[in-house]
């Protein structure tokens, strides 16, 4: 089967009328790229293989007898296809990427280099453990750093991302409570929490109840205390919280939860604000995940892979998942199901095949060693300073709902109060795109109307911050003046505003041959 027989590389359908001026639909360096299935075909390949030696088939009589429909490209075409696509993406390598609670910091290329060393990249997870001692030592060493930096007792390395880490923490909590014969059913989650918190609690079999925020953007401690009781298993709390503020009552919150027989889970998504200056262990928490793809600079890659190790208090350590690495004399052992029985019998079990995100561990350790204890402290200080600089350079123009309650941590929160003419946070965000910036986090946290959450990170220079501040002031002034032209933004991006309602109402999730093309074959 040939998917596209003409060989013509079409631009996007219906592009002609709208994009106007050029034959191709391209605009100089802004290049349109057709779908793989429109430019490739099933007879083209970009790889060379030796002819398979003739042999009898042992496929159990299940030889494939239908076309799959996988389009191929030659190598030059494939490289061009993905390179052209790449240029339609914004990225931290291109400029400031101020997504709040996402910690889009510079991704050092040393990390990429070391992760690709054959001794890390080309080893199999089931090799005999004495052939992978260096890998186990690396995991053990990173684990040691994470335990020291958080002031906790142990760390589970296998969770694959932040939400998976949350699940790890809650499963340990539930195991610990069940072990003392104290089944509890409710997890309390502040209303400002990231959506993964309630979703994870439900996934772990809990009922979720929401705790309100105060007018100062903190957890309402009185409401929390009033709700504590014998049915509350744990509180999931983000600190610094999603309003960009430290919870000053954190130590008292932990104490109150413990006195009520519950445990404290901390969402560590915002650890970048305090790394090296505050150890979460000193705040009385029992478990916290660390997003290596935030605080420790492993790249986001357009939506993962991440890595979400979970640090535990002494009370939860016996319940941590398998497998984990243990140093036994000079030898690094991998404690799995068969060896766990002897001294780790309370483990809640395995969360994932194999041992976690090794490729992320290598990158994170390279980053941590590069910064060291002194540098990591400077990281949080600069991250917090940059955010406060943005807060104070914008709070005369944009409403900062908690700006009066003191400094922020690593992210600055604004609302859409004062925008005129029906203009919204979305319009400001799209206006920023035209200015060459990725927008901030929009409409989150839910406790602020039209929230705009800006996290610059520590890897921005003052000049970059000043340019961003200038851009956002310019767009914000238009929003406050009711400049309706913002409704059309972005006008300079590869695409204008996309119709998300249409996408959801009539989902087109895979490419299909048009009926005419099929009829022609």
């Amino acid at each position: 089967m040939t998917i596209n027989q003409s060989g013509w590389r079409p631009t996007a359908p219906e592009a002609g009328a709208a994009s106007g001026d050029t034959y191709t639909g391209n605009r100089a360096l802004m290049l349109e790229e057709a779908l793989l299935f429109e430019i490739g075909d099933t007879d083209t390949t970009g790889v060379d293989f030796a002819e398979a030696p003739a042999s009898e088939s042992r496929l159990g009589g299940l030889e494939r007898n239908r076309t799959i429909g996988l389009a191929g490209l030659s190598e030059p075409e494939a490289v061009r296809h993905y390179t052209r696509l790449s240029r339609q993406n914004y990225a931290i390598d291109l400029g400031l990427f101020p997504l709040g609670s996402c910690t889009m910091k510079h991704n050092p290329r040393l990390n990429e280099k070391v992760a690709r060393m054959p001794g890390f990249a080309d080893i199999h997870p089931l090799q005999p453990v004495d052939t992978v001692q260096g890998a186990l030592e690396l995991i053990h060493r990173l684990a040691g750093w994470l335990v020291e930096l958080t002031g906790m007792h142990s760390v589970a390395m296998s969770p694959k991302a932040g939400a998976h880490g949350e699940l790890c923490g809650l499963l340990a909590i539930r195991s610990a409570l069940e072990a003392r014969g104290d089944a509890r059913e409710v997890i309390l989650v502040p209303e400002s929490a990231h959506g993964t918190n309630p979703a994870t609690a439900a996934f772990a079999g809990y009922r979720v109840e929401s705790i309100p925020a105060t007018a100062r953007g903190r957890v309402d401690f009185d409401a929390l205390k009033a709700r504590l009781g014998p049915d509350v298993a744990a509180v999931m709390i983000t600190n610094p919280n999603t309003c960009g503020l430290f919870e000053p009552d954190m130590v008292e919150i932990s104490r109150a939860v413990h006195e009520a027989g519950g445990l404290v889970y901390c969402d560590g998504a915002n650890f970048n604000a305090i790394v090296g200056r505050v150890r979460p262990g000193d705040l009385g928490i029992d478990a916290m995940h660390i997003n290596l793809h935030k605080t420790f600079s492993t790249p986001h890659g357009g939506g993962g892979p991440g890595s979400g190790p979970v640090v535990f208090s002494e009370a939860l350590t016996p319940f941590a998942p398998l497998p984990f690495v243990e140093k036994q004399g000079d030898h690094f052992a991998l404690v799995e199901e068969e060896t766990a029985g002897e001294h780790h019998g309370s483990s809640f079990g395995r969360m994932v095949a194999f041992h976690g995100q090794m490729g992320m561990f290598t990158r994170a350790l390279a980053y941590i060693m590069s910064h060291g204890a002194d540098g990591l402290r400077q990281v949080s200080e600069d991250a917090v300073l940059n955010a406060n600089y943005i807060l104070r350079r914008l709070d005369d123009l944009l409403d900062a709902p908690f700006g009066d309650s003191g400094p922020c941590m690593h992210e600055a929160l604004f609302s859409d109060k004062g925008f005129a003419g029906g203009l919204t946070t979305l319009d400001l965000a799209k206006g920023l795109i035209d200015e060459g910036f990725h927008p901030m986090t929009m409409y989150f946290p839910l406790v602020v109307h039209g929230a705009m959450l800006i996290e610059p990170t520590e890897t921005e220079s003052k000049a970059a911050l000043d340019q961003f501040i200038g851009a956002i002031r310019s767009v914000a002034e238009r929003a406050k003046a009711g400049d309706r032209s913002l409704k059309a933004a972005p006008v300079h991006a590869p695409r204008r505003r996309l119709d998300e309602t249409l996408a959801a109402r009539k989902p087109v999730l895979v490419w299909k041959e048009s009926p005419q093309a099929e009829a022609a074959e």
Partner: protein
């Protein structure tokens, strides 16, 4: 501190601008008792790029690199050749250092690549739709079981003995907390799979049957009758594929009637990496899509009518639905999905079929050669690029002894099933296109010597 652009004078200027006399003023909300006065004691200070590289290179050399020895390990992670352009493309900063595509106007590169990825996965699996990736095969497998529970409103999952034991463990961990009942079994060293007994295990409480294809011992069985038996009881058939290259040679689970097909994508585009990061693949029929976990990319148009792509059907997801979401997954494995789709594009259907037939032919030749080693028997009648040998003694020490002869000779079933007495002599051998005739000869010789 090469990653920090602020100069000392910048810091002073900025502190003044925010009205702080020192950086400590910005941390006033931290309780006194929790403030660290100085850097954490006992940890090393920052290092130069060269020093870090030197130290990590030292650690890397303490590992035996798969590519440097005759290598035959599989069981859920496979060593294939990845074209150089794949790694180049995923290291383009626009892909590597972008975020989840929440602002579609400036993320069309990732979104279009994911739309193409979804199409490729759906076609390879023989399903109508696929999502934009999960963490890995094992977590995708559990998510599929949860999805079947929501759809059927039943809580018993029947797991084939041929399902990867780590996948079974992950499901068992989760089932303890969700209340699902898992009906599990341990494989036997025989040529026949347990499919007939699975059919007998389906009852009115069964939400799904989970079967791996090819299975953990490498065996291949027609899923058609099992699918019919599931559907007769209104249960779903979930097929798990840990070696996607196999589907270039054998029928897809979707065309045999599987309702949900999930698996590990690592073989295509993603290296071994000691177990992660990998990429979970997840596909199903169109009518089940609203119960699907994970991100979905969909086609739409912009305000000028130009085609474009967005994340869609988000009302299934945690950031909208919170505790009622179909999954808690947020960050998944998009860069690995990009590697997967770029490698698959380079292969194309033609290349994938060639690759698959080359794997199979090499595996057939290797199986025949290894079965001639005295005392060794081939367990499988059917296989793709991985088969199980029954040794005359325990395989685990044999694998260890072969390392001393410079051969990574396979995965012993004792490593995966330490408790199962009947499996201790089993050795699972994977033979991909990276294996040479000399490698097979080296394995045969090493095996003969360690068994002598």
């Amino acid at each position: 501190m090469r990653y920090l652009p602020l100069a000392g004078s910048d810091r002073q200027d900025m502190l003044r601008a925010v009205g702080a006399s020192s950086i400590d003023d910005l941390f006033v909300d931290v309780p006194e008792a929790a403030r660290l006065r100085d850097k954490i004691a006992g940890l090393p200070d920052h290092l130069s790029e060269m020093a870090v590289e030197r130290e990590l290179a030292r650690l890397s050399r303490r590992n035996l690199v798969a590519g440097e020895v005759p290598f035959f390990l599989g069981c859920g992670a496979y060593r294939h050749h990845i074209p150089a352009s794949v790694d180049h493309l995923i290291q383009r900063g626009e892909f590597l250092t972008s975020y989840t595509p929440y602002q579609p106007e400036i993320a069309q590169g990732t979104l279009q690549a994911l739309f193409e990825f979804q199409t490729q996965v759906a076609r390879l699996y023989g399903c109508e739709v696929a999502n934009a990736s999960m963490y890995d095969g094992s977590t995708a497998c559990w998510e599929a079981i949860g999805m079947a529970r929501r759809i059927t409103r039943r809580g018993k999952a029947v797991l084939s003995s041929g399902l990867h034991p780590h996948y079974v463990s992950v499901a068992a961990t989760m089932a303890r907390f969700t209340g699902d009942v898992l009906d599990t079994r341990v494989p036997e060293l025989t040529a026949e799979t347990d499919l007939p007994s699975l059919i007998d295990a389906i009852d009115d409480d069964t939400s799904c049957v989970v079967v791996q294809y090819p299975d953990i011992l490498g065996r291949i069985a027609d899923l058609g009758a099992l699918a019919e038996a599931c559907h007769a009881k209104n249960a779903l058939l979930i097929a798990v594929v840990t070696e996607p290259v196999a589907l270039g040679a054998i029928r897809s689970p979707g065309e045999m009637g599987a309702d949900i097909v999930v698996g590990e994508g690592q073989s295509i585009g993603v290296g071994l990496q000691f177990g992660g990061p990998y990429v979970g693949l997840f596909a199903c029929s169109e009518k089940l899509v609203r119960q699907m976990p994970g991100r979905l990319t969909g086609q739409t148009v912009d305000s000028e009518g130009k085609r474009g792509f967005v994340l869609t059907l988000s009302t299934r997801e945690q950031h909208i639905r919170r505790e009622k979401a179909t999954s808690n997954i947020c960050t998944s494995s998009v860069l690995c999905a990009l590697a997967w789709t770029a490698h698959m594009t380079l292969l194309g259907e033609k290349g994938l079929r060639q690759l698959a037939m080359l794997n199979h032919a090499k595996a057939v030749a290797a199986a025949d050669r290894l079965a001639k080693v005295p005392g060794v028997a081939l367990v499988n009648d059917s296989f793709f690029n991985e088969f199980t040998l029954k040794l005359p003694k325990e395989a685990r020490p044999a694998v260890r002894a072969m390392v001393d002869k410079g051969v990574l000779g396979g995965v012993s079933l004792g490593r995966l099933y330490p408790e199962a007495a009947g499996l201790q002599n089993g050795l699972v051998v994977a033979v991909t296109e990276t294996v040479t005739d000399e490698d097979v000869e080296a394995l045969a010789t090493a095996l003969e010597e360690v068994l002598a």
